[in-house]
């Protein structure tokens, strides 16, 4: 399709300073529909800064971010009004936080959490909202009978899966994920990664995922961007960068992963 030949998200020379401290410098990338890009690096690499810039949560010191809206028009994120940006964040985008408690309303039932976005875009039929919530709970492997429980009763892995459901219910085309498996037990991580893989495939999501875990990057992403000290060290096909790392830092990262 000709539509898919245009990138969905374009970053051009993104730079962000925190006073005299460099967040990230001169990052450019293109993301197409259905592509998963992993941004990997260690603490202080600038990967989280980059994610916040791409999601329009931080203003860049230099450079810009452009997004192709549902109507086909590409817009400069910085030129969007607050209302437009909020609407985008609520419909065409998802943002999965590392700490699920920050991405959910902990005192509201699971059904209310998933239904909120629908209600925010004008759904007014209780039965249908509830039905959509039940079907999403099932999809993220949470027992739909628990729809009326608040996520304060859920385990960490369940909360994260609920957060994913909450974000995907409006069928966004682009999802940002910030260390979605961080802090979870290994078996719980595996389950979550499996779910993410299937959802990305089934829904054709474009994803920017920030992670320090190379295994997560290999499992989920098509392309990978390695960052260090705010700069992009290397970028390319995931298996190519991980199997045949060119830069010294990438080689160091890859060789540092403990074998299982």
């Amino acid at each position: 399709m000709a539509e898919n030949e245009q990138p969905l998200l374009v970053a051009d020379g993104l730079t962000r300073w925190y006073g005299r401290q460099l967040g990230c410098r001169d990052v450019s990338l293109e993301l197409f529909e259905g592509e998963v890009l992993a941004v990997v690096g260690e603490s202080g690499s600038g990967k989280s800064t980059l994610l916040h810039l791409l999601a329009g949560q931080l203003a860049p010191s230099a450079g810009l971010v452009r997004y192709r809206m549902r109507d086909g028009v590409t817009r400069d994120l910085a030129a969007l009004s607050e209302a437009e940006r909020r609407f985008l964040a609520r419909t065409d985008w998802g943002y999965v936080q590392q700490d699920a408690a920050l991405g959910l309303r902990m005192a509201v039932s699971a059904g209310g959490n998933i239904g909120e976005r629908l209600m925010a875009v004008g759904w007014r039929h209780y039965g249908r909202i509830r039905g959509a919530a039940e079907s999403w709970l099932d999809r993220v492997e949470i027992d739909p009978a628990r729809i009326d429980e608040a996520p304060s009763n859920y385990s960490g892995g369940m909360r994260q899966r609920l957060q994913i459901a909450r974000n995907l219910v409006t069928q966004p085309r682009l999802v940002f994920m910030d260390e979605p498996t961080g802090g979870l037990d290994v078996s719980v991580q595996a389950r979550l990664l499996d779910l993410l893989r299937r959802l990305v495939q089934d829904l054709g999501l474009a994803v920017v995922i920030v992670t320090h875990d190379l295994a997560v990057a290999r499992l989920l992403s098509h392309r990978i961007m390695v960052m260090k000290g705010g700069e992009v060290i290397e970028t390319g096909l995931t298996d190519q960068v991980l199997d045949d790392p060119r830069e010294a830092y990438t080689q160091l990262l890859v060789s540092s992963v403990l074998p299982v």
Binding site: D194, R223, L237, D239, Q240, D244
Partner: protein, 232 residues
């Protein structure tokens, strides 16, 4: 017969920054072609660079010099200089790769691992799973194992899942890295049949095979990789 793959004067070396920038040459001046319906076997001792050549064709490794042209339909793509999206599109429908070791994704059932390349092309899940099951059955993997994730399988069982995954689609170029290394005689025979069936369907195949019998059964041409040895 149409040429599907043309490797032209490809060279590669590794630069090991962790060892003070030491350069490890792999291959130099690799040139060969593979045509539709033929199987080219790369021969040579371990370490000669056979796997590296396959990986360069698939795009898992970069090459320093030369070109790797893949012909598909009316188009011709140079893998050596292709960007990530081009490579991904090529892997989807043109080039399939059976690696030496299965990278076992946790929690995914064997039949789903094998069916995945078809599903990625847009085939319905049920049909893809059916085709994958057929291949697994031919490879003598008992169906009670199909629903299990392959992480706990033996080497030979994992390899059969890997082979099914590589052959489930209709990719015109097939890369096989030691497809029979951990298999018993019966299953080696099955793989030979499967490969020959693909050849009859016009698939171009580049394979690394150590077992002489298997090699004789499938190879149309043998390329001696030692002729591409890079100067140390």
């Amino acid at each position: 017969m149409t040429t599907v793959l043309e490797v032209s004067d490809v060279s590669k070396s590794f630069t090991m920054h962790l060892r003070g920038g030491m350069t490890l040459p792999v291959v130099r001046g690799v040139s060969f072609a593979a045509r539709a319906g033929e199987c080219v076997v790369l021969a040579g001792p371990s370490g000669a660079g056979k796997s590296s050549i396959l990986k360069m064709i698939f795009g898992s490794y970069r090459c320093d010099l030369g070109a790797i042209h893949v012909h598909h339909g009316d188009e011709r793509t140079d893998v050596a200089n292709a960007g990530p999206r081009t490579m991904l599109a090529l892997r989807l429908r043109v080039v399939a790769y059976v690696s030496q070791f299965l990278r076992a994704v946790p929690r995914v059932a064997a039949v789903d691992v094998a069916a995945e390349p078809l599903i990625a092309c847009g085939t319905e899940r049920e049909i893809a799973a059916h085709r994958a099951g057929d291949l697994l059955a031919r490879l003598n993997l008992p169906d009670r194992m199909w629903g299990l994730p392959p992480a706990t399988f033996s080497g030979g069982e994992q390899q059969r899942v890997n082979i099914a995954r590589g052959l489930v689609g209709d990719h015109p170029l097939l890369l096989l890295d030691e497809p029979t290394a951990s298999l018993d005689a019966a299953n080696r025979a099955v793989v030979i049949d499967l490969v020959n069936a693909r050849k009859r369907r016009g698939t171009a195949i580049v394979a690394i095979v150590h077992d002489a019998d298997v090699r004789d059964a499938i190879a149309d041409r043998i390329v001696d990789v030692t002729t591409f040895a890079a100067a140390a």
